[in-house]
């Protein structure tokens, strides 16, 4: 017993030492790459070919105070985010339908495989050939990039549900809504989260690429293209930093929403509307308090 306590006491300062080191490490890694970038910029010696980090930071600082940046961010965020959200909703629906009916799966599988395999530029060109296609280009492109990923991953999650729990639910005739919240969604949620994490990055990449090609007015892509025409590499890199920040922020927000959803399911799963009139009534809440839940 004594030795265990001594061990813990000895381990505590070590853990404290590791804590700050772990926190500092990402900053050190970032600093390393900034130094490499700066060295590269010095080696090139032409700011219009490769702007230095300082030039990019300065330009980014200027842009942050302009309506131009926030307008472009709003424009691209609405379209790329809209395409992503639509892809997630449609992907969940198509996966559920494919899991329920094999004929739907048979019909959808080749279509999803084709969308996944086709070069994104093909869709962009096809959309540009349509009247007014430029306005919806980023939304449709991000939708098409994300849809097959969400469909395939959620379908796999549905198929990997715990068969023993499903049998239990069948025997007890657990109402559909309760089964959904207590068994189906918790099983599928990790798969959905993984597909969203992959999908959001792809949505931004493909969406901005589509904007650069289609040049919808007021978009981030249009700004990047203008900067390229004028050989303003500091602007191109500043807009790239904006896109990367938006991608990270979207990923962070998604992770937050999904973890909150998971926590909510843990506390409310098994309640909610059901065919036999289940629900979280006042009596049930009182019981939860009674047991200290």
């Amino acid at each position: 017993m004594t030795s265990t306590t001594a061990g813990k006491a000895a381990a505590a300062p070590s853990a404290r030492r590791r804590g700050p080191a772990r926190a500092v490490r990402p900053a050190l890694v970032l600093a390393f790459w900034l130094v490499v970038w700066q060295a590269g910029a010095w080696a090139v010696g032409q700011d219009f070919l490769l702007a230095s980090p300082v030039s990019v930071a300065r330009r980014l600082g200027e842009l942050l105070g302009t309506a131009e940046l926030w307008g472009a961010v709003g424009h691209s965020l609405a379209r790329i985010g809209g395409g992503f959200v639509a892809a997630v909703l449609v992907g969940i629906a198509t996966a559920a339908l494919a899991a329920a009916w094999s004929v739907v799966d048979t019909l959808l599988a080749p279509a999803m495989a084709a969308v996944r395999a086709a070069p994104v530029v093909s869709f962009i060109i096809l959309l540009l050939m349509l009247p007014g296609g430029s306005g919806t280009l980023a939304a449709v492109t991000s939708f098409l990039m994300v849809l097959p990923i969400v469909h395939a991953t959620v379908l796999e999650g549905i198929r990997q549900r715990d068969r023993e729990l499903l049998e239990m639910a069948a025997v007890f005739r657990v109402p559909r809504w309760r089964r959904l919240t207590a068994i189906d969604v918790p099983a599928v949620l990790p798969y959905l989260a993984a597909s969203c994490r992959v999908g959001i990055g792809l949505a931004w990449k493909a969406g901005v690429a589509a904007e650069v090609i289609g040049l919808p007015e007021g978009s981030i892509g249009e700004r990047m293209y203008d900067a390229k025409l004028l050989l303003m590499s500091a602007d191109v890199l500043a807009w790239t930093v904006v896109v990367v920040a938006l991608s990270f922020a979207s990923e962070w927000l998604l992770a937050l929403l999904l973890s909150r959803g998971e926590a909510r399911l843990a506390t409310t799963g098994g309640s909610g509307p059901g065919t036999s009139g289940s629900g979280e009534g006042p009596g049930e809440r009182a019981d939860e308090r009674e047991v200290g839940a």
């Binding site: 729990l165 098994g270 047991v291």
Partner: protein, 190 residues
């Protein structure tokens, strides 16, 4: 009465049940005993409607509400003990879930923990309670007391006796004393 006549079930080449006849009288406990691999669980699955027999007939199941304590606990890990029991109960019966879980010896701390954090014995008791409090005409208990310590075993046996009074019960067990304690008619599968 639930009646099985000439029930046969094969898994590949292996014949698990071969022309089995079995009656489960209404409101009585029937204990199914027999060596491992004799088809007890397969028979229970047929009674629960989870497995279709290859041959034979099963009658008396239509419209029956069923409940089961499976060999595995089959709990939703993210839900609390109360949440797992409430999952199978009609609205307004949450108090029954709490009362039965307390009768099973689970304290407030255990009731509020996610099932994944419960001990093996606690999980088993939650699984049994879920079967006992559900509104069911037929209760199937497949080796329900497996893994329980002596005190918990006695407590749960008593709870089964109380809660299953007047209901049709199929108990699968290797312990003749359990069958006797529940006043069961013993049927042996060979």
């Amino acid at each position: 009465m639930i009646s099985l006549r000439g029930v046969t079930k094969r898994f590949g080449e292996q014949v698990v049940l071969d022309g089995v006849d079995l009656d489960l009288p209404d409101g009585a406990v029937t204990a199914l005993m027999g060596p491992n691999g004799s088809g007890k669980t397969t028979l229970a699955r047929i009674v629960l409607g989870l497995t279709e027999p290859d041959a034979g007939t099963v009658s008396g199941l239509h419209g029956l509400r069923r409940a089961a304590a499976f060999q595995e606990d089959r709990l939703c890990d993210q839900l609390t003990a109360v949440g797992n029991v409430r999952l199978v109960l009609d609205r307004g019966r949450a108090a029954d879930a709490v009362a039965a879980l307390r009768e099973a010896g689970l304290d407030d701390d255990a009731l509020s923990k996610p099932a994944r954090d419960l001990s093996g014995g606690q999980r088993r008791r939650v699984a049994i309670v879920r079967a006992l409090v559900a509104d069911a005409d037929l209760v199937v208990l497949d080796e329900p007391f497996k893994g329980l310590d002596r005190a918990a075993h006695g407590r749960m046996l008593e709870l089964v006796r109380e809660r299953c009074a007047g209901r049709t019960v199929l108990l699968i067990t290797h312990d003749a004393a359990e069958a006797e304690a529940l006043g069961a008619t013993v049927v042996t599968l060979s």
